[in-house]
Amino acid sequence: MWNFDDIQQKALQEIDACRDLDEAEALRVKYLGRKGLLPEIFASLSQASPEEKPLIGKGANQLRARITEALEGIKKRVQEETFDPTQRIDVTLPGVAPVLGHKHILTQIIDDICQIFVGLGFVVQEGPEMETEFHNFSALNIPVDHPSRDAFDTFYLESKDPGNPGRHLLLRSHTSPGQICIMEKYAPPLAVVIPGKVYRPDAVDASHSFMFYQIEGLLVDEHVKFSDLKGLLTVFCKRFFGEEIIMRFRPHFFPFTEPSAEVDISCYICKGKGCSVCGRKGWLEILGCGMVNPKVFSAVNYPKGKYTGLAFGLGVERMAMLKYGIHDIRIFFENDNRFLNQF
């Protein structure tokens, strides 16, 4: 038979004498561990007489509870006694992290827009920036004497156009020649978005730049309709600007589309009442679009009358300026760190 009182008294004395956590752990092993005293007591139950069994069981359980409790108590006390206040850290000091860079806002806007169309089944393609007069003008039904062909409105290069003797290459003045590149290479059905840089000899000021980005879109198939153009661009505008946006399609003119339209969205500043941002109109012009002019299809030798198509083009800087309230187009190309770090 075990003398539980003696055992308990001795154990508690030992525990009380602990000075650190290691000593406490050693005592835990001694009494409660797998090869410790308590397992030994429980093991003795199998040899005990029926009268002794309940006494031993009860005594052992009480002993375990007291020792466990005493160990917990001493651990807490030891921790308190041994804590060095200088080890307390200032948890309010700033964290240290590797610096992350920023994608340029124009890259982000281009990708946001392209991904909306990719989700609708379009693919992203890029075209060359140094183009021929044929791609940039003639194939797009822009006549030979059209003002946009003047050196006032288009940058010409000293490089000669290998396919058109006597003519020079130029810097594309819009992304629309990308439509021609695609249609010369592929037969319908096709649905592409073409982002890229375009160039115009405009004097630089807050709203003009001699280089800027456009995104062109083109969908050609049998039975593409003007109502599809309206539907597609409505989906796009709602995804890009938000569901609550109000839009309108307004007749306009582009040589390479007919009917042509411009899309306006309700001014986000004044909600349509008219303010300085929208020029008191309540509307902001955001993109040009239309049904592909059959003359464009004949320029790329598509069979007459077989296909219809829709096309649209938008200015990336303008979208960014509208979305983020930027008022000077030059800031995109200055690349000041304080600008880049904001997006």
Partner: protein, 676 residues
């Protein structure tokens, strides 16, 4: 173009408030940019698209409005005049320059102030009143769209009009009092001796109609639009006339405009027509083109369900002649002012416009599977961006056009650059043959604005010969990322940039990338390296030459630059190595400390270790480079940490000692290395 609502009501009646009217016009394609209150009148400022020169006048806008509002058009009645047989002397040098010229001579006219009804209309639009004759020409221009000019007939030398190109050296003082030098690209109206007007743009002061004028010659003509546009640009001179001629006036309106002006002059200034001549050398007759369009085509293209009757009504309101061309087919002839109507789609657009785009249905397109492949470089470019952004670099977007000066300052003078023929400024002379000047310019402007730590990259095109190539460029300057726990922030250097590149190569799965020292014009001597993978040249990296930096006005600062060929990266990255099974047995790490001759490169030492280590060597890490007292002169200390591991068994102490010893021996034998 500005229009007065009060004046507009002369030609079509409506009761709409200005805002509603502006909305109707805008939604019909005549965008109203501004609405201005002007007392009892409202002025609308409209943007007329270049295909609609017929709307650059009140009658044209009224015609549109009558269709949109379904109100009748009220045009002024012009009495048919009987002209005398006497012809005035008009000569056209080249009918390509001037397709039609009607000269009407009137006398005796009484030149005085305009009557109120003309004066108030012109003043409402901000026009300056001159005298009744001149004001009537301006009034008719705004009413009919036909530019007109009145000469003081008695001042025309020889009483003669010659439409010809200016001779070299000829000059004219225009009505605005400015003397202008002319050349043969400019079409002029001359008398027997000298130019008396710049055709289609502005009259001359010498033949101006004044209060003393008694006899006038009224000009109504058609001039070549391109010629007028170019002359107007060349002379830097624009007018209401040139604006309309540039966009094209109608052959028929040449006559109608003249008739209206003559009848007004007769009423307001008196006199009679004493001579007249209509020179129409090409015998061009104004007529709209006939177009056939079916209802099916209309509804197919618009996605609409319009009826023949509806389409017919719309077109008739626009003054189109419509006849049936069979069941469901319309034969349409546009009025001659609508030179833009040539094809079925043009007619369909007219119908869509008047119905209103907002009233047409809205559907979602069927986007089918297609042959056009997505451009794979597009997502790859984003992957590269993510790699550099993850390492703290900001992406930049810069101009593709540069000045020759910025190339010269960068040691990039001799390249086959693409030049711009018509730059607006010196900053746009050449297409950039390298991203280096663009990035250095950005770093410079940031430094000059007090931002000394710059880590930037750009994925952009360079242009050489006839071709465009995409490049990746990276530049850095300043200190490493700030950490308040460190006493000093170490300066950012070559190895920081190289490390960023190595991260990229590792992420792209390029394992065999080699750096070799090389000289390069924009790198400081002894710091440049070329980068290649196998035989493929990938790019270059180095510290920018200090002299070069000084030319860019960057002083006391180290700048590091790297560039890689985007296409080469893309091609190599798409050949990703296949998965390597890793060993289940424990690895053992042993350090090796060497004294290496100064002229032996790290790369050589590493190659010997890798080759000798063979299959048991899993990894070699470089721990330290040391120079100082503890090492003999002419030597540098290298410490490597080598991990040994077998894929077949747990290595014994003996296995490792042999392998480690073999490496040491190979280094001693092959590179004269001394063990430390």
């Amino acid at each position: 173009m500005k229009i007065s609502i009060k004046w507009l009501k002369d030609y079509v009646s409506f009761q709409l408030p200005a805002e509603k009217l502006a909305h109707k016009l805008t939604m019909a394609g005549l965008e109203v940019e501004k609405i201005e209150d002007a007392g009892d009148d409202v002025i609308l400022e409209m943007e007329v698209t270049p295909n609609r020169p017929d709307c650059l006048n009140f009658q044209g806008i009224a015609r549109e409005l009558s269709a949109v509002l379904d109100k009748p058009l009220k045009l002024p009645k012009v009495k048919k005049l009987l002209y005398p047989k006497t012809r005035c002397d008009i000569e056209i040098a080249d009918q390509k320059d001037c397709g039609r010229y009607i000269g009407t001579v009137l006398e005796p006219v009484q030149v005085k102030a305009s009557p109120d009804w003309i004066g108030t209309r012109l003043s409402a639009l901000g026009g300056r009143l001159i005298n009744n004759v001149v004001d009537i020409t301006n009034f008719c221009l705004l009413e009919t769209g036909q530019p007109l000019h009145a000469f003081d007939y008695d001042k025309l030398i020889g009483g003669k009009i010659v439409v010809r190109r200016a001779k070299a050296g000829e000059k004219i003082v225009t009505l605005d009092g400015v003397e202008r030098a002319l050349d043969p690209s400019v079409l002029v109206i001359a008398d027997a001796q000298r130019p008396v007007a710049i055709a289609g743009i502005m009259g001359g002061l010498a033949t101006e109609v004044t209060n003393q004028t008694r006899k006038i010659l009224l000009e109504s003509a058609y001039f070549d639009p391109v010629l007028i546009r170019r002359a107007s640009r060349l002379l830097g001179l624009k007018s209401d006339s040139s604006y309309r001629f540039e966009r094209g006036v109608d052959f028929a309106t040449v006559e109608a405009g003249a008739a209206r002006a003559v009848s007004l002059i007769l009423t307001e200034a008196g006199g009679g027509v004493v001579a007249r001549r209509d020179v129409n050398p090409g015998r061009v007759r104004a007529q709209g083109k006939s177009v056939t369009v079916s209802l099916m085509e209309i509804n197919e293209l618009l996605g609409s369900e319009l009826t023949v009757a509806k389409c017919r009504t719309i077109l008739k309101k626009l003054n189109f002649r419509v006849s049936a061309g069979g069941p469901g087919v319309l034969k349409v002839v546009a009025p001659s002012v609508r030179a833009d109507i040539k094809d079925p789609v043009d007619v369909i657009e007219e119908i869509a416009r008047v119905v209103g785009y907002d009233n047409l249905p809205l559907t979602l397109p069927l986007v089918r599977a297609q042959n056009v492949p997505p451009q794979p470089e597009y997502p790859f470019a984003h992957k590269l961006r993510d790699i550099f952004i993850g390492q703290g670099y900001n992406e930049t977007v810069s101009y593709s056009l540069l000045s020759q000066g910025s190339l010269d300052k960068s040691g990039l003078s001799g390249l086959p650059v693409v030049r711009v023929k018509n730059p607006l400024s010196l900053d746009q002379e050449v297409m950039r043959p390298s991203l280096f000047p663009s990035l250095l310019g950005i770093v410079r402007s940031n430094i000059h604005r007090g931002q000394k730590d710059n880590k930037i990259f750009e994925i952009g095109k360079i242009y050489l010969g006839q071709a465009e190539y995409k490049m990746l460029a990276v530049m850095g300057s300043g200190t490493r990322d700030k950490d308040w726990r460190a006493l000093h922030n170490r300066a950012w250097d070559f190895y920081d940039l190289k490390g960023a590149l190595d991260q990229m190569f590792a992420r792209l799965g390029l394992t065999a990338v080699v750096y070799e020292a090389c000289e390069d014009p924009f790198f400081k001597k002894g710091t440049g390296a070329s980068i290649r993978a196998g035989k493929t040249a990938l790019g270059r990296v180095g510290e920018v030459d200090r002299g070069l930096l000084q030319q860019w006005d960057i002083k006391h600062r180290a700048v590091f630059y790297a560039q890689c060929d985007f296409e080469a990266l893309y091609k190599l990255a798409s050949k990703k190595p296949s998965f390597k099974k890793f060993s289940e047995f424990p690895g053992v790490t042993r350090d090796i400390s060497l004294a290496v001759k100064e002229d032996v490169s790290f790369q050589k030492v590493k190659e010997v270790i890798l080759k000798q280590g063979g299959a048991l060597l899993e990894d070699v890490a470089f721990l330290e480079e040391y120079r100082g007292e503890k090492i003999q002169p002419g030597y540098k200390g290298f410490i490597f940490s080598i991990v040994y591991r077998s894929s077949l068994k747990t290595l014994t102490e003996e296995d490792i000692s042999i392998a480690h010893g073999d490496i040491a021996q190979a280094l001693i034998d092959q590179l004269g290395v001394v063990m430390r």
